[in-house]
Point group: C2
Chain length 340, copies 2
């Protein structure tokens, strides 16, 4: 049990943040590493995924899932290594993905874990391009966006874990993909590495004009990750029968008062479809996407990028960065060593 020293460290929620979350909204708790019971599996955490949805879980509002309780371990997807198993499906050394929270060790029922191939692709990809964010992009495009060859698809937070995959899926479908991202570095990567036709820097001013220039034929599909001014600008350029995949609105996750939204008059005349999605509604999409996309990731056909912070204690800072666009690509926290 390398690095554990017999203790399990967890980050629990101390209080619900007002606005931007802070490190002292969480508290570090140490306790003996638990012993797995019947059918249970003990794992150590290697990588922890940090995702925008976590802000909702600490807000105290029930939206689609119960909030994390005060004093409860913060929720989160992880890649871990099996240390001990009372489930015949797992043996020590197995690499597993599961929702095991912000902690160094955890005990889970076997069926809550998914064994993954530790040699096929880098472990971080199971939390990003092949994990929850990648599956969100896949499900959103397959079930709602449905980009067609020649259509114009706009993706916000285009360099992020969800957006980068959503745009690459639309490209594979033959669409012309335009990203929206924050800053020239991200926009450059979106164009050069992901191969989007264009990328608009939403920090550069005249968003509407820049988008219009990047989308001379209007916008047929919008994959929405941010909300706010980007949403307003994109909505003004939607074509008849456009589809809007409402995957997230990061720009307002720290807001204490929600700003008004765009006037929806255009939805009628243009027969626009705006539809919200939560990836767990179609759980079958996870395995479907992993099977489909693992060879693409392995062969470099599906590009991805990570920002990794070190140590469980950096998880609150990682969340703060994700909510203000301080990350570049998938945000991960390294909690334990990669197996040799």
């Amino acid at each position: 049990m390398s690095g554990s020293q017999g203790l399990r460290r967890s980050l629990v929620l101390r209080r619900r943040p007002a606005g931007e979350p802070r490190a002292d909204d969480f508290a570090l708790v140490e306790e003996p590493i638990p012993v797995p019971g019947e059918g249970e599996v003990l794992t150590r955490t290697i990588l922890l995924s940090i995702d925008p949805y976590m802000r909702g879980r600490i807000s105290g509002r029930v939206v689609y899932a119960e909030p994390v309780a005060i004093g409860g371990v913060m929720t989160g997807e992880t890649v871990g290594e099996v240390l001990a198993s009372n489930d015949p499906g797992f043996v020590p050394g197995d690499i597993v993905v599961g929702s095991r929270g912000w902690q160094t060790h955890s005990v889970s029922p076997g069926p809550a874990l998914t064994k993954v191939d530790r040699h096929a692709v880098p472990l971080g990809t199971y939390l990003g391009v092949l994990g929850m964010p990648g599956t969100t992009a896949y499900s959103g495009m397959k079930d709602i966006g449905q980009p067609q060859p020649g259509e114009t698809v706009v993706v916000s937070a285009a360099s992020g874990a969800v957006g980068s995959v959503a745009g690459q899926i639309a490209r594979r479908a033959g669409a012309r993909v335009v990203g929206v991202a924050g800053g020239p570095d991200k926009c450059l990567w979106v164009q050069e590495t992901l191969g989007f036709a264009d990328c608009v820097d939403h920090r550069s001013g005249n968003l509407r004009g820049a988008l219009q220039e990047a989308c001379p034929n209007g916008i047929d599909v919008y994959f929405e990750n941010v909300g706010g001014a980007v949403q307003e600008a994109v909505f003004g350029l939607l074509n008849a029968h456009a589809r809007v995949v409402m995957s997230g609105m990061i720009a307002q996750y720290n807001a204490t008062d929600l700003p008004p939204g765009p006037n929806l008059g255009f939805v009628v005349g243009k027969r626009v479809r705006i539809e919200g999605m939560i990836v767990t509604d179609k759980p079958e999409r996870f395995a479907e996407w992993r099977a489909l996309a693992t060879p693409w990731v392995r062969d470099g056909l599906l590009r991805h990028r990570e920002t990794v912070l070190d140590g469980l204690e950096s998880a609150p800072e990682a969340l703060r960065q994700v909510l203000r666009g301080g990350n570049f690509g998938k945000m991960l926290v390294r909690v334990g060593k990669e197996p040799a």
Copy 2:
């Protein structure tokens, strides 16, 4: 050619109205009654339908149809009588429905007209409950709203030509239907005659509280005809997986500057689907609905109500009333006598 005196009277668009349309935005033109050419049919207008969408056609903006040109005859659905026919499908005395505009007589290619049964139901119903508004309600509920037994369905402009049918369709599907209407008389009719479970008067203040009380289990389907404050209040009460049929936003059709809309953050977490529709996108729905609903209208199972103004000249006033909710039920203009 009763009442024609050899002249055809038409209302043409003089100028694009700023805000609320006025009588002098239109001009009366008299000219000889035209002679039908090959394959054409001459009709006289009996009833003219006045509908909110007409405001868009005189605004100069192209949304889903070309605007009416300055000097052009104002567009509109009518019931008329065939006076002369060069199409073997029609003979003088036939009653036809068509988009023949704001005029006493018109010449149309035969295929642009639909012959209807003059004895089955009152002629006005072909423009209301069985016509474009009724078909809008039908298509919106069938293709988007899809109310299920026990669900709560809210319909705005509930006493109007579209809303009254949308709500009755949802009732037939086993849903609990709540209307929103302007004033106690309309609300009483919506509850007593249409049989909605409840009706909220949007003029009575505390719209959100009244809606919440009328919808203790939240709202699963919203059939949107008005926009504005009603939309904001309803959106706040939508349930997970709710569907919003965006059929119209009458409240802002005269607006020169569009107000902001509701913040759309809830759409993600609640997986709401907001979808716009234009009835002519699925033209097959017209005959489908007429066949389905004619017996219901005849047998009193589908209730309807009309406001009829007299004389072609009253069409601009009728449009003004429709846009401010001054009508009660389907707004019609009587242009010519009913056949004996």
